[in-house]
């Protein structure tokens, strides 16, 4: 009796498993044909690319989880940020700023169509601006958004907005990938508020979203009605590959044509692929700066001599070279000279000099006691803590390198790896001694960086609080954004950036650059000047 019962049960379990497996195989075999069809379209007119995260909801006015490179493929700005920080006409053919720096009038490009065929004109520009301004709180990190007083359609192709006070970086901020880019009429939800999502991703850009499978891939096809130069590639497929090693393996197997970005694969993998000679590689111009921030609020670091000593004992050239394998470039100034207003900053470059470092520490009263290897002052050892993002291997290795470097001059560096949100949180709340930081880079700097320095609650203002010229600096930073005179602005920047660095709390380490590796049949690859934008302008594949 029991026997048959048991047998039945075993049989039942077996049957369940079998059915489930058959159902699963059934589910998947339907898609077999489709993916084979997919494979056959992987012809010479398609570029396959990968990104760590899904492209997101493709809303031009929203942040997470939309990915910027994808937003920039579909949506376009009034002004574009080009090589060397030059701001060039894009959807606006030209613009005028009134003498008081408050009125901005844009002459829009005519004959531009959205991908659904509708017209790009001043009406739709205003509609986009209005929904962005309705959710102004979300965008208040951008300086000009909270200052906008009025938006106005002057005529079909002329758009105007008025600011409450002059703010020179307005034009530069218009070049950002988000939020001021333009969605077509049909993309708006009924109530016109895009903060909760868009109906369809309709833009004026060179690419149109064709298919999107969340967490798997997104394909973009060429916009055949694009107003500008048409891409030579017909399709771009973006596969979602979260893992860097897997990305490398997929590239080696030929499942990817291009790898592009910052930190998308590890440095060793990049060098290994490069050394095979089977692929093309390239490195961009500096897009941002990696810096070391010393908190002058902490007793030890409030002494400029200690800060300088640490800087002198920092063999930047060698550390940057060995840690980043030359993917990054040693930085002597806080912002690289391919940013606006940065070309003639005067700051003493500090070259590696251990003797000088030791001298400075001696002068500051930190002496090396007999038989010990850590300096002391009034019986207190010279110990400093450096916080780093544990997920970023460059920060980690640099922290370790600094630890051994500074041990040579009798400084004990304690390194503390934390998660990114913790790092941001502690930095903002001034709960750190030293921290790594990366500037926002192109197209945000220089105004965005100095603005962060001057704003309370972002860490910098507190960190530089023992600068003797702090008040002057802060007032200069407040003035520069309201300047209407180009020469005055340049002078102010030269002075601000110079003295920020001279006081030694903000130590430039290296310039961050983007990398790209691509298969041999890909040609004409160029990096976007705007760090957040897509790199597909002009790209070509095949003969």
């Amino acid at each position: 009796m029991l026997h048959t019962k048991n047998k039945k049960l075993v049989l039942l379990i077996f049957i369940i498993f079998l059915t489930v497996s058959i159902v699963l195989i059934g589910c998947t075999s339907q898609s077999v044909e489709k993916s084979e069809a997919d494979a056959s379209t992987e012809n010479s007119h398609m570029i396959t690319f990968s990104w760590p995260r899904d492209v997101g909801e493709m809303n031009p006015h929203a942040y997470n989880p939309s990915q910027m490179f994808a937003q920039s493929m579909v949506y376009e700005p009034l002004v574009s940020y080009e090589e060397g920080g030059e701001l060039k006409p894009h959807l606006a053919e030209s613009w005028e700023v009134s003498d008081d720096g408050k009125e901005y009038v844009f002459n829009l490009r005519q004959g531009v169509k959205f991908s659904d065929g509708s017209n790009f004109n001043a009406e739709i520009v205003k509609k986009n601006f209005d929904t962005i301004l309705d959710n102004g709180d979300r965008h208040s990190w951008l300086g000009f958004i909270p200052l906008i007083d009025q938006t106005e359609v002057v005529d079909e192709y002329t758009f105007k907005f008025t600011l409450n006070e002059p703010y020179y970086p307005t034009i530069q901020e218009l070049a950002n990938v988000r939020p001021v880019r333009f969605l077509g009429e049909a993309g708006f939800p009924e109530d016109g508020d895009t903060s909760e999502g868009v109906e369809q991703p309709i833009g004026t850009g060179p690419w149109v979203l064709e298919e999107h499978k969340v967490d798997q891939y997104a394909t973009f096809k060429r916009n055949e009605d694009y107003w500008g130069e048409h891409p030579s590639v017909e399709q771009i497929k973006v596969k979602v590959i979260p893992d860097a090693e897997t990305r490398v393996l997929a590239f080696e197997k030929g499942e990817l044509d291009v790898i592009f970005g910052e930190g998308v694969i590890n440095i060793d993998a990049f060098n290994q692929l490069k050394s095979t000679g089977s692929y093309e590689t390239s490195i961009s111009e500096p897009v941002a700066t990696r810096i070391l921030v010393m908190n002058t609020n902490k007793e030890t670091l409030s002494d400029i001599k200690v800060r300088q000593a640490l800087h002198y004992a920092f063999n930047k050239q060698e550390i940057v070279e060995s840690v980043t394998s030359n993917l990054e470039e040693k930085a002597d100034t806080i912002l690289s000279t391919n940013f606006p207003y940065t070309s003639n900053v005067e700051a003493t470059t500090i070259d590696y000099d251990v003797n000088k470092a030791e001298q400075l520490l001696d002068d500051a009263g930190w002496k090396m006691p007999e038989g010990k290897d850590i300096r002391e002052k009034d019986g207190k050892p010279l110990e400093i803590e450096l916080m780093y993002n544990s997920a970023e291997s460059i920060q980690k290795i640099m922290a370790e390198a600094l630890q051994s470097e500074w041990a040579k001059i009798g400084v004990k560096l304690n390194i503390d790896g934390v998660e990114l949100p913790t790092q941001v949180d502690r930095f903002n709340n001034n709960e750190f001694e030293m921290n790594f930081y990366s500037t926002s880079g192109a197209p945000y700097d220089p105004h965005y960086f100095i603005n962060i320095v001057a704003t309370e609650g972002f860490g910098f203002r507190e960190a530089i609080s023992s600068y003797p010229n702090k008040d002057e600096l802060l007032s200069q930073i407040a003035t520069v954004q309201q300047t209407t005179d180009e020469n005055e602005r340049q002078e102010l920047y030269t002075s601000i950036l110079g003295s920020l660095q001279e006081q030694g709390a903000i130590v430039p380490i290296s310039y961050i650059r983007q990398i790209a590796i691509y298969q041999k049949d890909v040609s004409n690859f160029s990096f976007p000047a705007n760090r957040d934008a897509h790199p597909f302008t002009g790209i070509h594949i095949g003969e």
């Binding site: 049960l9 998947t28 993916s35 969340v214 893992d243 499942e255 949100p421 926002s440």
Partner: protein
């Protein structure tokens, strides 16, 4: 039998409450503010107003107790709230990704069972023969190799070098093979060892000797008696490991770009997407509880001694 199941179901309620409390506590013990994490992930230097606005949006400005009670009430209605990151209902996000994870875990479970039952049984029966050595090696290998590493090795050899399978993605059965094997390996190691030990133990039992003296055919002793009673601990192990499979899928999904729930969970952790984390933990807890219950019921069928226990004096 019926009362037993009802009793077991009732114990699920307090365990569920404890699970919600622990998750909630853990998330809020973390020094990171989800509002800040959200903005950091978007690459924005948030102003104080932006943070305050986000906190209010997420309901983080309320007292902890209120937040906890609210979330328990919500969950008891099977409403897991709205994801902080995507602004969509968590259940919608999760249920769209669950099928991929279920497909992967079921496939590995099938592989694990199909491989480990014959292997473990034969290893036990033919102790110290080749098959036994092989099974011991496999158990050792499977238990000690980290699954992400094993995954890379599989990709490297079978995909990049031999070009038999795609590196990543989902779609055809070919996409499923490597991730399913990767996920199944530690289970194979475990079950093979478990079954082998249990077979060896059973071989020492008097009933085997008795059966032999009765002149029952050796094959029949092994197949009908030893295997059946030896398999019982393995079934317990299966139940306990269903939940483990789901959590093990996190790594495998990341390595093979499998668009499942585990990968989504990792992202949620980095973004401090609290509702998603909570949903995941509760689902995992639920899965552990339910699979254990099912296993107990199966055990009762296979080994009637369990359900008879305590009833013999009635």
């Amino acid at each position: 039998m019926g009362t037993y199941i009802v009793k077991r179901m009732l114990t699920i309620v307090p365990i569920f409450l404890i699970a919600t409390l622990i998750t909630f506590g853990m998330i809020h013990l973390s020094p990171v503010d989800p509002a800040e994490a959200y903005l950091a992930a978007a690459n924005i230097q948030p102003t104080a107003e932006m943070l305050a606005q986000k906190r209010q949006e997420f309901g983080l400005d309320q007292p902890l107790l209120v937040q906890y009670v609210n979330s328990v009430i919500q969950i008891s209605k099977f409403d897991f709230g709205v994801s902080y990151v995507t602004n969509k209902p968590v259940w919608e996000e999760v249920s769209s990704r669950l099928p991929a994870t279920i497909e992967l875990t079921l496939a590995s479970l099938v592989i694990a069972i199909v491989v480990s039952i014959p292997l473990g049984f034969l290893a036990g029966v033919r102790k110290n023969k080749e098959i036994d050595h092989f099974s011991r090696f496999l158990s050792y290998f499977g238990a000690s190799i980290p699954s992400f590493w094993f995954g890379y090795l599989l990709i490297f050899f079978f995909s990049v070098k031999l070009d038999l399978f795609p590196v990543e993605g989902i779609g055809t059965w070919k996409h499923l093979v490597l991730p399913a094997i990767t996920l199944a390996l530690p289970l194979i190691a475990l079950y093979t060892r478990l079954l082998r030990a249990s077979v060896l133990e059973n071989l020492q039992e008097p009933y085997v000797l008795f059966a032999r003296t009765r002149g029952i055919h050796e094959k029949s002793i092994m197949g009908k008696h030893v295997l059946r009673s030896a398999i019982s601990p393995m079934i317990t192990g299966l139940g306990m490991n269903l939940g483990k499979l789901m959590t093990g899928a996190i790594i495998v999904e990341a390595v093979f770009s499998w668009p499942g729930f585990g990968r989504y969970f990792i992202e949620a952790i980095f973004n401090r997407d609290v509702p998603v984390i909570q949903c995941y933990v509760l689902l995992a807890a639920g899965l552990f509880l339910i699979s254990n219950l099912i296993v107990d019921i199966i055990q009762m069928y296979i080994d009637p001694r369990i359900s008879r226990e305590g009833r013999q004096f009635q």
